[in-house]
Amino acid sequence: MFALVRLLVHLGLQSLKAHRSKTLIVGGLMTFGAFLVVVSLALLESVERGTRQSVVESISGDIQIYDKLAKDKLSLFGGFTFGTEELGNIPSFNKVKDAIAAVDNVRAVVPMGIATAGVKSPGDLDHALDDLRKAVDVGDRSQIHDLSARVKSIARVLLEQQAKQAAITETAASSESKVLLERALSDELWADMDRDPGGTLDWLESKLGPLGEQGNQAFMRLVGTDMPTFEKVFNRVRIVEGTAVPPGARGVLVGKSLLDKRLKFSVAMFLDLVHNERTKGETIATSTVLKETLQKAQRASPRIAYLLPPREVPAVKDALAKELAQPPSTELVPLLSSFFQMDDANFERRLKLFYDVIGPRIQLYPFKVGDTITLSSFTKSGYLKSMNVKVYGVYTVQGLDESIIAGALSLVDLVTFRELYGQRTAVLDDELAAMKKSAGIKEVDRGTAEADLFGGDDDIAVTVKTVEGSGVGTGSSDPVIEKVVRDEQMTFDQNTVGDGLVLSIAVMLKDPSKLRATLAALSKVCEPLGLQAVDWQQATGFIGQITLVVRAVLMTAIFILFLVTIVILNNSMVMATLERVSEFGTLRAIGAQRGFVNAMVVFETAVLGFLSGLFGAGLGVAFVTWLHGVGIPAPADLLQVVFGGPRLYPTVEASNVVAGLVATLIVGILATLYPARLATRVQPVVAMQGKD
């Protein structure tokens, strides 16, 4: 038996050598196949690892657990419905935590909740008036002077715009506002400012204020979590500015790309956009989008004029005039306008100038690290809840610094989250019940309202004894309100964090490859708790599904490719077999059984398949290693998340190589079956007949 195998091997190798062209073609194709399998599997798995990293290790964990009764599907990055999803709730994290943590392969359990909150940044005029009020309150003369100048310059810009609009349409409202603006710019008003700051300020706030541009409201998707645990578990989250939120403190970590791509001062944002596209190889000259973006920057540029503190204006004017080679006496607004007429030649220089000269003198972001921002949200309870929360830091997801999707979430402590989410507490319910009771109002059904309300014998009007004398607004009947503690100063006992409502629980695994098994085990544990467990791909909505779609597409492509390859290989081998008819005839003539001939042919392919598979896999490994070196750039933001970074650095796993080898062998052998059968059908007599 051994001798026979040795013979087979010998024959096989010799014949491979002898039929070089067939060996080359068939081997080449199989090499190619193995190469493709290894590369595409490596890429696919790297993409999945990338997505996993950008999603699992930044926010979702391997598994998410949430209420079984949830109306919507958990979708951490937002789903396809309007508004916030209805995810049910988990009333107490601590009650279920241990059961989940006890499941095998669970490394960490992190409580979470998602709430949407708006952050309002006041309009420029409101902002200036606010600051002015503060200055008036403390009586800071020079501040008042500076800020008055800023209000004036905003009013001037508004008046200019008004004039432009008047050219298009003149309405009663616009002529009215013109009068107000003119008064705001008049000397007597500012003389009043010195005499009666309070009254003048009231006038400014109530009359001038409404004319200004409204502030922006940016919506933030907040992920409330146990911050210290979160930071320990989710190691892709990097704080790039500021610090982590200390235990027990209220605070928020804002995504850097949200800041840079949504909240930044618009002119700077437009310039950044153009800069980014230019580094990707676009030019202003050829791209209408870039031209339009620059036009937007130019249109928005007058804002710089009033965002600049007056004492900084001369320095900026000098720098701009120098750049534009114009006399320094020119007005700032036209200077800015010409400054933002940018082209490929001057863009980078002017960008630098913008950030060197203008950037430091105005506020580029609505808030900075250390500021306290106001988050507002319509709570679950139906109340509008606003909270002051300190911005402790800015974070990025490692490798995804640029992605707006990855950076769209902001992290907040659980206590703040609960308030914004408006968990209906027993205390509130009791209080509402008491209020209702003291109001003494009976429930009236809509259907019988008229009879219930007007069917009684009571008179409609009830005379109330009038209270005589001069009333005082601050009298004894005035409401007393407890001192309200500002939220940003509040702290909480870190140990109580777990003792309360969460919407979902992120589970991080020790060994992510055992996800399926752990998911099954967790589901079993969750079922009786009224919870459900889903993997990260389901928990992340669209983004998770993308990886599934990519996998499906790639697998289908490989399958089709192999199908075609089998046909082509089959053909090549059939032809090779036909050329060897006399060889097979001879073998049969000297007494080889059909089985032997069959084995010989299949064995040949197997040897070839194995060798070329190895070779192809080797090439694949080399190629992926090369790709790993250079990285595949992600063309779109969504792909950045999918890639786990701006570039995909694929790595190859041993399993990919094995899969490549196995697939090649299978394809090779499948393609050999028919030609091998042809070979076995060769009659011994052929050997005698010579060629053809």
Partner: protein, 449 residues
């Protein structure tokens, strides 16, 4: 032509290999055509969706701001604008206008926010050619007859009617024949409503249909108390959609010359401008905004590019395999037929004819096999399209821009696929054919020695 005959006869003679290679070519062409049909289908979804549901080829939209923070999507003197459009664009085939509202649809058991388009039924043949009635299963839970469709688009001619899309109907738990209430605010801020009857529920068109509903124009005029001559947008359909961008520029120039104030071009759909861009701009009054359908569907074009890239990559890989297969086969064929080639050379056939002979052989194989594959692909695509297979994965729906698999087999795509594959197979035969052409006539004699 005798070379052709030799080539064809050779193919027929070596039936087995012709069959194998043919099958491969057939399959790849079929796949190619399917992919092209899919891309065309998605593009079609986009174009039809964008151009029927939310845009013309070119649009004159307008924004009106009574205060700096206000934003209304309306144009005044719509008839004058239509005349301007006709004047500026002689190749405009259809010029219609629609009213645009935004409000809440309230049914007994639910409510949704949506855009409300006021249309004149008779102008909108294009729109209704692309809408189909949704089967009950699309919007009702456990319907007795899941495939049943009810309603009639033509009923939109009647006053106080509305067309919803399945996704909205599902949220509203509404049914054809139900009465729903539209609630909006007039320009002065007063609440207004209209009771309308659902006359048709159309199938979803991917993302685009989520924010659209259609009612007769008068309903929107009543809701907003518009004066005569006010409309939402003028939609212009050109003879050739490819001219959209050029037409937009011409129209912009024309309107500028006539003194209309315009927004600078911004490739964004109108609702982004209405809700995000325009409220933040500090002018008041009215401005026009001329856009193309591509602007209105800008965020969806990426999807099509991705689809094209994937198709191209796959077809290239497959073509590579085919090239290897054909060149291998041809090499062997040349070897087998060395003497014949020598003879042909001896009796006076020149090299280029020998080269042609083999190229032709591969080309015939290519054109026949890929032709059949192309036709089969087109047939299968048409069948899949007719079967209207539903897609249940959200991500897929986004990619396909539809809730069903829509494939458009186009003649031009079949021709392209067949031409490419024929070229590929002929090209694959080039080196073997060159080798054949180098065979000396001496070989014809060699068997003798």
């Amino acid at each position: 032509m005798i070379i052709f005959e030799i080539a064809r006869n050779n193919l027929l003679a070596s039936r087995r290999r012709t069959l194998f290679l043919g099958t491969a070519l057939f399959g790849v062409t079929l796949l190619f055509v399917l992919l092209l049909s899919l891309t065309a289908g998605v593009t079609d979804n986009l174009i039809r969706g964008a151009t029927a549901v939310s845009s013309g080829h070119v649009n004159i939209a307008g924004y009106y701001k009574s205060s700096p923070t206000d934003s209304q999507a309306l144009v005044t003197n719509v008839d004058t604008l239509k005349a301007e459009a006709r004047q500026a664009l002689p190749d405009a085939v259809v010029v219609i206008d629609r009213l645009r509202g935004w409000g809440k649809i309230i049914a007994d058991r639910g409510s949704v926010q949506t855009g409300i388009n006021g249309i004149a039924f008779d102008d909108e043949a294009d729109l209704f050619s692309m809408l189909t009635l949704a089967p009950a299963k699309d919007y009702r839970e456990n319907p007795a007859n899941p495939e049943e469709t009810r309603g009639n688009f033509a009923d939109l001619q009647k006053p106080n009617t509305i067309l919803l899309f399945a996704g909205q109907a599902k949220l509203l738990k509404a049914e054809v024949g139900d009465s729903v209430t539209l609630r909006t605010e007039t320009l002065k801020g007063a609440t207004n409503t209209a009771d309308v009857t659902v006359v048709a529920i159309a199938r979803d068109l991917g993302l685009l249909s989520g924010f659209a509903s259609f009612v007769p124009k008068q309903a929107v005029i009543d809701l907003y108390q518009f004066k005569p001559g006010v409309s939402g947008v003028v939609q212009i359909y050109l003879k050739d959609i490819k001219r959209s961008t050029a037409a937009m520029n011409e129209l912009r120039a024309h309107l500028a010359k006539k003194g209309y104030a315009q927004l600078e071009h911004d490739a964004q759909p109108f609702f982004i401008k209405l809700l995000q861009t325009v409220p933040g701009e500090d002018w008041t009054g009215a401005k026009l905004d001329v856009t193309t359908w591509e602007d209105e569907g800008a965020f969806l074009v990426q999807i099509i590019n991705g689809l094209k890239a994937v198709s191209l990559a796959l077809v290239m890989l497959l073509a590579f395999v085919i090239v290897v297969g054909i060149s291998n086969t041809m090499t062997i064929a040349v070897r087998e037929r060395t003497r014949e080639i020598g003879t042909l050379r001896a009796i006076g056939m020149n090299r280029s004819s020998i080269l042609m002979l083999f190229l032709l052989e591969a080309a015939i194989l290519g054109i026949v096999a890929s032709g059949a594959g192309g036709l089969a692909g087109a047939g299968i695509a048409a069948a899949i399209n007719a079967a209207a297979i539903r897609v249940d994965v959200d991500a897929m729906r986004i990619v396909l821009l539809s809730d069903t698999l829509h494939l458009v087999p186009r003649v031009v795509d079949v021709v392209i696929a067949v031409a490419v594959l024929t070229f590929v197979s002929a090209a694959a035969a080039f080196f073997p054919a060159l080798r054949a052409a180098r065979i000396t006539p001496v070989t014809a004699m060699q068997s003798a020695e």
